[in-house]
């Protein structure tokens, strides 16, 4: 039996919750699932092993566990040698394991509004049902997402644990840099007191070096993926969002990105593979926002049936300058505030436009996750602005976690319609 399928079956059984909350499950999954499954890239295998190790460590509770929201800078977690746990990422994993629908029902019973983000609904129910490792601290950032800080406030009250909230302003200027840097310094101060660890220059140097090295490899990966044909598709690329969320500052992240860089370069160097993949690249696409985690159908159809290739993802884009260990908090503040999703939509537009040019793409697809006010809220404006510049844009309505609320047939019709438009444009 397929080990992935076996793992899913076991988790859906009555013992599922106990299995999920046991560090042994993740060690076993690492030994069985990672070793026996086939991965298209060694880098992904390494990343899966890293994720399982992190989960095992979080459930083991030997080190303090910090729950972090999607955009909270993970370097802060590694500066204090904490074990990160991202409830939103966990919701994605639960969806891929086909466990989300029960959790969404549970969240309805708890009074969580059904029009909220399903990542958050799933995470709230997962918390109530004790699917997740207990937190020692909770850390959330306000940027891009209104819901996450509220979710974390709710969970911090439930667990009666310290909550560190980062208020990220709308504008990037001298005042906002100082405001964010001051908050980060305060959080570091609290963490020093709570963990009894003094934040040393040596530790900052080490974590920032790892973060910067990972960034360098990410840039190299982007450069290689810009080639025609591109050596990696979106099904693969979108899985590396995990590193964007939890890898920055982690010692394994540069190693994973370096492995991927080497593998991609090898594909590009291999002419035979190059020509074989050429057919799979009828249209090159930019993918905005996340993907459906409950089913690979949408991406598979696009890439395998229609031969489109997602050559770049908004979520993997390197938008920030390198970190400076001499100015740790200011430097992290600059990284946070340089996110293109912050501020007026012109910033996001400019980023996507540049990506379209750099990656020589034919079109842009935005996956409009229903509960996301930030990304989906801007999709219609992005569409207008990109179309003015002659860049075809498709907003695909759906839900990253809930596979029942948006019928696949509707998305299929829209994808096929968009494909026809692209065919006509490039006849």
């Amino acid at each position: 039996m397929n080990p992935h399928k076996l793992f899913r079956e076991k988790l859906k059984s009555k013992l599922g919750r106990k299995l999920l909350a046991s560090p042994g499950t993740y060690k076993l999954a690492r030994d069985v699932f990672v070793k026996k499954s086939s991965f298209s890239f060694e880098a992904r295998k390494k990343m899966t092993a890293m994720a399982l190790d992190q989960a095992a460590e979080a459930y083991h509770q030997k080190k303090p566990v910090a729950w972090t929201s999607a955009f909270f800078p993970s370097e802060m977690v590694y500066l204090f040698d904490l074990v990160p746990f991202a409830p939103e990422a966990a919701a994605g994993t639960l969806a891929s394991l086909d466990l989300a629908s029960d959790l969404l029902k549970q969240s309805d019973q708890m009074g969580i509004a059904s029009d909220s983000c399903s990542f958050h609904r799933c995470a709230t129910a997962g918390t109530a049902l004790e699917y997740f490792p207990l937190p020692d601290f909770l850390m959330a950032s306000s940027h891009l997402c209104d819901g996450a800080p509220r979710l974390f406030q709710y969970m911090a009250r439930r667990y009666e644990k310290p909550l560190y909230l980062l208020d990220v302003p709308y504008r990037e200027n001298e005042g906002s840099l100082k405001y964010v840097a001051d908050q980060l310094a305060k959080i570091a101060h609290y963490l020093e007191q709570e963990t009894g660890q003094k934040l040393t220059g040596e530790r900052i140097e080490k974590v920032f070096k790892q973060s910067n090295l990972a960034r360098q490899y990410q840039l190299e990966i982007s450069r290689i993926r810009q080639q025609v044909p591109s050596p990696m598709n979106g099904e693969e690329g979108l899985s590396y969002v995990y590193l964007t969320l939890l890898g920055q500052g982690h010692p394994e992240a540069p190693n994973i990105y370096r492995t991927l860089t080497d593998e991609l370069q090898e594909i590009v160097n291999n002419n035979a593979v190059k020509s074989a993949r050429d057919d799979k690249e009828r249209f090159r696409l930019i993918w905005m926002h996340l993907r459906p985690y409950h089913s690979p159908e949408m991406i598979n159809y696009l890439e395998n049936e229609l031969n489109h290739k997602i050559v770049a993802e908004e979520m993997n884009h390197v938008y920030w300058p390198p970190l400076d260990p001499e100015k740790p908090f200011f430097s992290l503040a600059r990284k946070i505030l340089s996110h293109p999703g912050l501020g007026p939509i012109a910033r996001r537009l400019e980023t996507i436009e540049k990506m379209v040019r750099d990656y020589q793409t034919h079109a842009v697809i935005h996956f409009s996750h229903w509960g996301c006010r930030q990304s989906v809220g801007g999709a219609l404006t992005m569409k207008k602005l990109l179309q003015k510049k002659g860049i075809p844009f498709l907003a695909l309505d759906g839900d990253c976690i809930d596979g029942t609320s948006f019928p696949w047939g509707q998305a299929l019709t829209r994808i096929e319609g968009f494909h026809e438009v692209l065919e006509q444009l490039h006849a």
């Binding site: 009074g111 969580i112 509004a113 029009d115 909220s116 983000c117 306000s142 891009l144 997402c145 209104d146 819901g147 800080p149 509220r150 979710l151 406030q153 709710y154 911090a156 009250r157 909230l165 208020d167 302003p169 709308y170 504008r171 005042g175 906002s176 100082k178 405001y179 001051d182 908050q183 305060k186 007026p344 939509i345 409009s368 229903w370 509960g371 006010r373 930030q374 989906v376 809220g377 801007g378 999709a379 219609l380 404006t381 207008k384």
Partner: protein, 363 residues
């Protein structure tokens, strides 16, 4: 409602109660709060604002496209939530008015006050370029006018609460807050002074200074106009609107203006920043303790008999705020009704049935 009083002036629209009206006023404009009054839906914005966004900005955009706000000179939008930032993007593209985005911190500490003070300086520069320069004199005069307004509002509320408000404003405290936020402050202050005098003489004559009705808290997101009016019609309840078109607007702190040599625009900006960030917290504020404290105080001080929570559709702040209040209401054994709307009048029939049934049980 005396909303027409402002039409002789250049009106500048604003949305969030953390927006300092003083600065808009000091630039020679009349601050005018944009609220979703139109009973019609927002079907004409489907091309601009996604269906899963808060109905407040959707309805405002809808009204703007219908020409309801053609008399505005400009708008100050606050970065209250994702939906408002998207409204800003859309209006920047299609409106002829000046559109300014004011960044409002979610924290209330000294760093946040410092940051907000600088944001207010930027706003003042911008408004000064669009209207009259915000000189120290103008800043002081406007700050004093608004201080007087807040003081009069608080006197009125403290004096006799809901009963009096309903005598003068059709929708009670909500009506008072709405008019206060959309009228020229000088004229409105004179109106408040008249009302206070009337009320004081009435109290002396009747010898009744206390409100005998049960307190009903209307909490949650901005309510639809129909719900406010419906509740105002129930004379046996005093309705306290715990929302941004109610108590959170009416109960701003009363800061002292820096005087003499100590006075400077920077000091006034700092004073305004502090007073706004220290006003009763909204669910957006990153301080659930202060929010919880505020709710507890309201429930206890007003001896709240029951709560109606308006859960505004697609508003994450409301959704999570409800969970906090729900715990408190259960702890205090206060009956509550949660209603959900899109700010339209379409669902008023069903809403009325639910609200009436709830109030009947209480009676």
């Amino acid at each position: 409602m005396d909303r027409e009083a402002a039409t002789d002036y250049k009106k500048v629209g604003w949305f969030c109660t953390y927006t300092p009206e003083e600065l808009i006023h000091a630039a020679g404009f009349v601050p005018y709060r944009l609220l979703p009054h139109s009973p019609t839906g927002s079907g004409n914005v489907e091309d601009a604002l996604a269906a899963n966004l808060c109905p407040y900005p959707r309805k405002i955009l809808s009204d703007m496209r219908r020409g309801v706000y053609n008399d505005l000179h400009g708008m100050v939008i606050a970065n209250s939530c994702n939906a408002m930032s998207h409204l800003y993007n859309v209006l920047k593209m299609e409106s002829d008015h000046f559109i300014y985005m004011l960044d409002i911190p979610r924290k209330q500490d000294e760093n946040a006050i410092e940051y907000f003070s600088r944001e207010l300086e930027l706003l003042a520069d911008y408004l000064g370029a669009k209207g009259k320069p915000l000189t120290l004199g103008r800043l002081k005069r406007s700050s004093e006018t608004y201080r007087q307004k807040n003081e009069l509002l608080q006197k009125l509320i403290a004096q006799n609460g809901q009963f009096n408000a309903r005598t003068h404003f059709q929708a009670g405290l909500s009506g008072l807050a709405i008019e206060a936020a959309s009228s020229a402050p000088e004229a409105f202050n004179r109106k408040l002074e008249r009302i206070l005098t009337e009320e004081q003489s009435r109290d002396k004559q009747s010898g009744e200074g206390e409100n005998k009705t049960s307190a009903l808290l209307l909490a949650g997101g901005l309510p639809p106009h129909g719900l406010t009016e419906m509740l105002a019609g129930h004379q046996e309840f005093s309705v306290y609107p715990e929302n941004c078109s109610g108590l959170r607007y009416l109960q701003k702190p009363l800061p002292s203006l820096p005087k003499g040599e100590n006075s400077s625009p920077e000091k006034i900006f700092a004073m305004i920043a502090r007073s706004y960030l220290e006003k009763p917290p909204c669910p957006r504020v990153f301080n659930s303790q202060s929010r919880e404290y505020y709710y507890r105080r309201l429930l206890d001080d007003l001896q709240v008999r029951a709560v109606i929570y308006h859960d505004l559709l697609f508003c994450d702040m409301c959704h999570y705020d409800y969970l906090l209040l729900k715990d408190l209401m259960e702890e205090k054994d206060i009956p509550h009704l949660k209603v959900k709307t899109e700010l339209g009048e379409e669902d008023m029939g069903q809403l009325k049935t639910r609200v009436e049934a709830f109030l009947e049980i209480l009676e």
